[in-house]
């Protein structure tokens, strides 16, 4: 049996896997070897990635036989999550929660997120003159923001943060990580149960008031936790590493803080860290840019190279904060586009602004190419970011 599979490994910290870039230039829609489906269609151009992710006939239902995300271990006890549903079921479920993530509601969180970031940087500065930025800043900020949204009481923040960090820590043996995940799931379940009897001003309480089933809501709470934690942390670390490695970019932000929203958008495009959610199963024969994809075939829309498509982003490998890269697909495209994207943008903006303002002497404590990057995915980022000030 062949175990050949398409390489997802990054060799250059600033660029998508070389093989993906080659395909985009030479063979932009092509079938490549894939572990659990034999082959998969690699979609690499921006327009084609939008076409695939925007068409729900490319199904996200990973319980379907032949779906590239079907692990083969469907237990029946796992709740189907938003990310595994197709419209119209998906639309109905997303409608229940999306009111929590409107542009205005997220913007209203700014003062609280600023407070979290200031306190986190205070603690980092008080700890000495060097730190692993992942542990000191990148992970705690999104963890505390989600804890707030879910209504985790202040006295439980330590437990919440510790287990969230253990869950994604590669130095922790797998049993420890699974145990941390179990502890968090159980905790979210208890939180939901407590909100049934004593509602608060949080997502879980509002969902219960709107008639949510407590078991389903526990699944949703946990999904929000894992979706918004490590991803945001990875982006914070990559952005700070980039600014420290390329002082001319840091200087631009220091000289003109109004560049920040455009910088966040450009860095989202540039790193496109989330790849794992873009696998689909064709449920009909569909032609994409002249190539016929048949029902039953697996498809992978590579947002990472789509965001380097020179037809859409001139000089795609240059970081340009004034590019106006709003049409990137770093948060995906189509009905499953990231629910928390406006929150992620706001967190990144606030954190980077605070880093630029409050840490003028911040520097990398190891050479850039010795930073342990998450070269193998599934999400790109860094494991550790040693810094000093």
């Amino acid at each position: 049996m062949t175990t050949a599979t398409f390489s997802m490994q990054r060799v250059d910290p600033y660029n998508p896997p070389a093989e993906h870039l080659r395909l985009q230039q030479e063979d932009s829609i092509s079938q490549v070897p894939w572990a659990n489906t034999g082959t998969i269609w690699a979609i690499t151009k921006h327009a084609d990635v939008r076409a695939v992710l925007g068409d729900a006939r490319f199904s996200s239902d990973r319980t379907l036989p032949g779906h590239p995300m079907n692990s083969g271990y469907v237990t029946g006890s796992d709740l189907k999550q938003l990310i595994a549903m197709d419209p119209p079921e998906h639309t109905q479920h997303r409608l229940r929660v999306m009111g929590e993530f409107t542009v205005k509601k997220i913007a209203a969180l700014r003062p609280r997120i600023e407070e979290i970031v200031e306190e986190t940087i205070d603690a980092m500065l008080a700890s000495g003159h060097e730190a692993d930025l992942v542990e000191a800043l990148s992970l705690p900020v999104p963890s505390m923001v989600i804890a707030d949204l879910l209504g985790v009481p202040y006295e439980d923040h330590g437990f919440f943060q510790e287990n969230s960090a253990t869950f994604v820590d590669i130095d922790t043996p797998m049993e420890g990580r699974v145990a941390a995940m179990g502890a968090l799931k159980a905790y979210v379940g208890e939180l939901v149960a407590s909100r049934v009897t004593s509602p608060g001003d949080d997502i879980l309480s509002r969902q219960l008031a709107a008639g949510a089933d407590p078991v389903e809501l526990t699944g949703l709470g946990f999904l929000l936790l894992i979706a918004g934690h490590e991803t945001t942390a990875n982006m914070i670390s990559l952005c700070v590493a980039t600014l420290l490695d390329r002082p001319e970019l840091l200087k631009q932000l220091r000289d003109d803080p109004s560049l920040m929203p455009g910088a966040v958008e450009e860095l989202l495009r540039y790193f496109t860290i989330a790849e794992v959610g873009h696998q689909r199963l064709a449920t009909a024969d569909i032609e994409i840019d002249g190539t016929l994809i048949r029902a039953g075939e697996a498809v992978y829309a590579f947002a990472n190279v789509a965001n380097r498509d020179p037809e859409v982003f001139p000089e795609p490998n240059t970081i340009d904060f004034t590019r106006g890269a709003r049409n990137h697909v770093a948060f995906g495209f189509g009905p499953h586009q990231c629910l928390g994207q406006n929150l992620a943008r706001l967190e990144l903006e606030i954190v980077l602004e605070a880093v630029v303002r409050r840490l003028p002497t911040l520097r990398l404590a190891v050479p850039f190419d010795e930073i342990p990057f998450k070269e193998h995915g599934p999400n790109y980022g860094v494991y550790k970011l040693p810094v000093a000030w």
């Binding site: 639309t91 997303r94 009111g99 993530f101 409107t102 542009v103 205005k104 709003r326 189509g334 586009q337």
Partner: protein, 67 residues
């Protein structure tokens, strides 16, 4: 030109509001609301076009004559 929005496919990503807050808003459920359905200038039209292009659920459309 006229902007139309399909609220039955809208997923509340808010990207239209983010792109063109003068033309689009979201209700309490997150669903799109068109505040200014007829762009009155080339600038307004350009902003609306970008929002239509960015909409991830393809719930927005522009039709008719340009201003």
């Amino acid at each position: 030109m006229q902007i139309t929005a399909n609220r039955s496919t809208c997923i509340g990503s808010g990207q239209c509001v983010f792109t063109d807050p003068d033309t689009f808003d979201q209700d309490d459920d997150g669903l799109v609301m068109v505040l200014r359905p007829a762009p009155a200038s080339p600038d307004e039209l350009a902003a609306a076009k970008e929002a239509v292009h960015i909409c991830p659920s393809r719930s927005l459309a522009l039709s008719g004559e340009a201003p």
